[in-house]
Symmetry: C2
Subunit: 405 residues, 2 copies
């Protein structure tokens, strides 16, 4: 008998019928003798509706109050699930963020979990109750309601699994696992049985939307086995676990892509100490997160600096840089939001040479120009013209024979 944390996303609790399906699933696992903690998202679309309502009041809703508003979404689903379970004769108790004592900092809208006092949950489990915890929300030390940001329910679930030392954290979602790449683009994409935390982290930060990045960081830190699986199918999904020898035998685990970034180049920047710092401090002060950065030195003490930013911040970043270029005496600011980033990910890279060469060769064969390259120990990312995205993903999937186990 195990202690299982299950998380169901917005689609899985999208209406009362689906909530009943979740209840049936939970009840089955519980009646087999397992202890079950369920973490729920808001019904699909509800969080966006609430944000829309707030935006009708003001384009910049007060962050603390927005969190109070958004927290109603998960409050609704946990109450409905527990009613459904109770009506089936399964004792169930809902806990909101403050009741589950998920303590966070006060960064409204993107709060980080500081600690979880799991005593009440443990008490309820000891009474053989199913505990349904509202995902995405916590409370600050002073009792204020906070939310954890997009996909925060994943983090709630993994953090609870860590605090409870659960045997597994099951993430039920609308896909049936983690794939070698997006099956919508590449028909021979293959579901992975297992993937390491590090690979999952890279995949998540590179655009795979299966798990929130922070939840994977949490899972890695506390070594929580995460099982990504479908709400609508019985079959097993993908286990996200600690890296082992087997995984290293594979050179590459997956290909990801993202079309959410834009590229900015500042040309002929005077190559003096502190200039790069100035460029990126100004961007950072505006709350814009920079991803890739490349610097090419020209002749004559001048340099070109290129970097990528989220597409939503593109116009703001352009404006900032155009202002700054004048101040620092750079030539001009070029921008391009018609780009894509394709990435090759695998812990096997650590021990296998030639992955970069194979990547570049494969893209070159199809005449796909690489605009920027960035690498880590376990990934290679290339920025390319956006129109080649799908083609590049398929080429790389083939190049590393990912359709084969």
């Amino acid at each position: 008998m195990a202690l299982i944390v299950q998380k169901y996303g917005g689609t899985s609790v999208g209406d009362l019928e689906r909530i009943r399906n979740v209840a049936n699933n939970v009840a089955k696992v519980h009646s087999s003798g397992n202890d079950v903690v369920v973490v729920l998202s808001a019904m699909a679309g509800v969080t966006d509706q609430l944000i829309g309502m707030a935006r009708k009041i003001t384009s910049t809703p007060h962050r603390r109050e927005l969190d109070v508003l958004l927290a109603t979404g998960e409050q609704t689903t946990v109450a409905l699930l527990c009613m459904t379970l109770e009506s089936m004769g399964c004792p169930a108790t809902s806990l909101l963020g403050f009741q589950a004592e998920i303590v966070t900092d006060r960064a409204f809208g993107r709060a980080r979990i500081v600690e979880i006092h799991a005593d009440r949950i443990k008490d309820l489990l000891a009474q053989r109750k199913i505990v349904a915890v509202a995902g995405f929300q916590g409370r600050a030390v002073n009792g204020d309601i906070t939310t954890l940001g997009r996909g925060g329910s994943d983090t709630s679930a993994v953090a609870l699994a860590a605090a409870l030392k659960a045997d597994v954290c099951e993430i039920y979602t609308d896909v049936d696992g983690v794939y070698t790449t997006d099956p919508n683009i590449c028909s021979n994409a293959r579901k992975l049985d297992r993937i390491s935390y590090d690979e999952m982290l890279e995949m998540a930060s590179l655009g795979a939307k299966v798990l929130q990045i922070r939840s994977v960081e949490f899972a890695k830190k506390y070594n929580v086995p995460v099982h990504v699986r479908s709400s609508f199918k019985e079959e097993k999904g993908t286990m996200v676990v600690e890296e082992d020898k087997d995984m290293e035998r594979l050179v590459v685990s997956g290909i990801t892509y993202s079309r959410d970034e834009a590229r900015i180049t500042v040309t002929k920047v005077p190559d003096r100490p502190g200039i790069a710092a100035k460029i990126f401090n100004t961007i950072g002060d505006a709350g814009i997160v920079v991803d890739m950065i490349i610097q090419n030195t020209r002749k004559g003490g001048l340099t070109d600096i290129t970097f990528t930013v989220p597409k939503t911040d593109y116009q703001a970043a352009l404006a900032i840089q155009q202002q700054l270029a004048k101040e620092i005496g750079a030539e001009q600011v070029l921008g391009d939001d018609d780009i894509a980033k394709v990435s090759v990910v695998g812990v096997g890279m650590r021990s296998h040479a030639g992955v970069a060469a194979r990547t570049f060769t494969a893209l070159a064969k199809e005449n796909i120009n690489i605009m920027m390259i960035s690498t880590s120990e376990i990934k290679i990312s290339c920025v390319i013209d956006q129109k080649y995205t799908e083609l590049a993903v398929r080429i790389l999937h083939d190049a590393f024979s990912l359709e084969k186990v």
Copy 2:
């Protein structure tokens, strides 16, 4: 400069535009130098929608979880109001029941306030913040969310006013005050400037829907001046205050009516000690509240017992009595749900004789038969055929010249 608690009902916060009107009103009072605590209901209709959703799951939703669900209604409105105020440059902080430390018992759905720890509210007021408290909700000692029952936001407001020793508790509603009777029935009904707690209590329990009964009890106990007024008009409404000499000069303050009750008669009940107790214990055990009771002794050790119950419990009460009649050897059980109760209310009755006589005479003149009578120190209630309701109200309003100040 005063400390003012304002409560706005569901119609007053029915949409974003109305919430903006509330914000404007609150901001005006606040900027004149007053400290303001605002208590809000859920948007009109929302609580019923949520109950409807729960009922789709089961006809008897789990009470604890229903309260978790219902509490989202007021959570939404306080967040929206504070966003609106903040967007206008007025610092505002929302507090939910648990954050405002409105501590209740654990009677989900009809919890009673046990105490309020108002320190956080006082701190926020000291910082010149507007504090918006979610009405209708509290927390049990163990942190469970509770709700106070229909109209509970009135009670939240008055209880907060008592805890904060506020100068006044303003109840903003869709009527502009307390009237001598229902203006929809009686065109010369007159708005009262003042009414005593006791009269308001009688009026509330007799069918006037302006204030929740419990809120009036609270106001009386802690001597909180309550100002009932319109959200949509500037003019003053009705002050509900402690009784004074002036009030006694008026014989009668108002006429109320209710069509929410039904009458049950058990005939030829053996007149033995314990029989009445048995009848009313059985009803009470089923959670049905009995209002008026009349016993007429017949000859031969037999008695007829007549009582009224809420119309919603009529069928259940009938079934219970039919079962019981056999056990105790009564003759038969008669029922009538086509009745109305009209009542004459006024603290002046204590010192003025002849009110009952004048009431009965007025009704008799129009040949309205009185089926049951019940009296208290400050009210006389008559049960009549429902079809005479409006007529009886108008007759009694005239009989006591209530149209005149």
